[in-house]
Symmetry: C2
Subunit: 96 residues, 2 copies
């Protein structure tokens, strides 16, 4: 299933900046960055729970916001992109 992850990390202090870097790094490992704080990840339920647990260990739940949107398997018709950094196909072939 496609899981959309969005986050706002409070970067007022150095600890916040560190959390932001760690959240981004964890998301990069698990999916595709489509915007600065928006990732699309193809995960099964177990992988999703693991990623959730990792991210919850990183964020400060009093200061940071983390949202998961479950777009299911038939997500292609649910997404529309406009402008720069065109959409990608997370199941597509990677051409090097």
């Amino acid at each position: 299933m496609l899981v959309l992850i969005t986050y706002d990390v409070n970067t007022e202090d150095a600890a916040g900046k560190k959390r932001l870097r760690r959240v981004a790094k964890e998301c990069v490992k698990n999916g595709q960055r489509v915007q600065c704080s928006v990732f699309e990840c193809l995960l099964d339920t177990a992988q999703c729970k693991l990623l959730q647990a990792s991210l919850l260990k990183i964020i400060d739940t009093n200061k940071d916001s983390l949202r998961f949107y479950y777009l299911g398997k038939n997500y292609k018709t649910r997404i529309e992109h406009f402008g720069a950094k065109a959409g990608y196909d997370p199941e597509g072939t990677l051409i090097l």
Copy 2:
């Protein structure tokens, strides 16, 4: 239906900062800000097309990114929130 709107506006110059303010203002008029650049909007198809058209007039499609995610009517089970700024119910009663 619930439409999730996410954007990245390139704010390198003053024109970009102005676009960002205008995009945010347009989204605020049409939905609920759940994160800095993430809005959830309850719209019908016509309203959604109008909002899309308005936003496309504002953004610079060479520099800015705009994504629409269509979460349908049964969106409640599709969203999970963690941390600060807890989720809201877009159909809920507004208590003043």
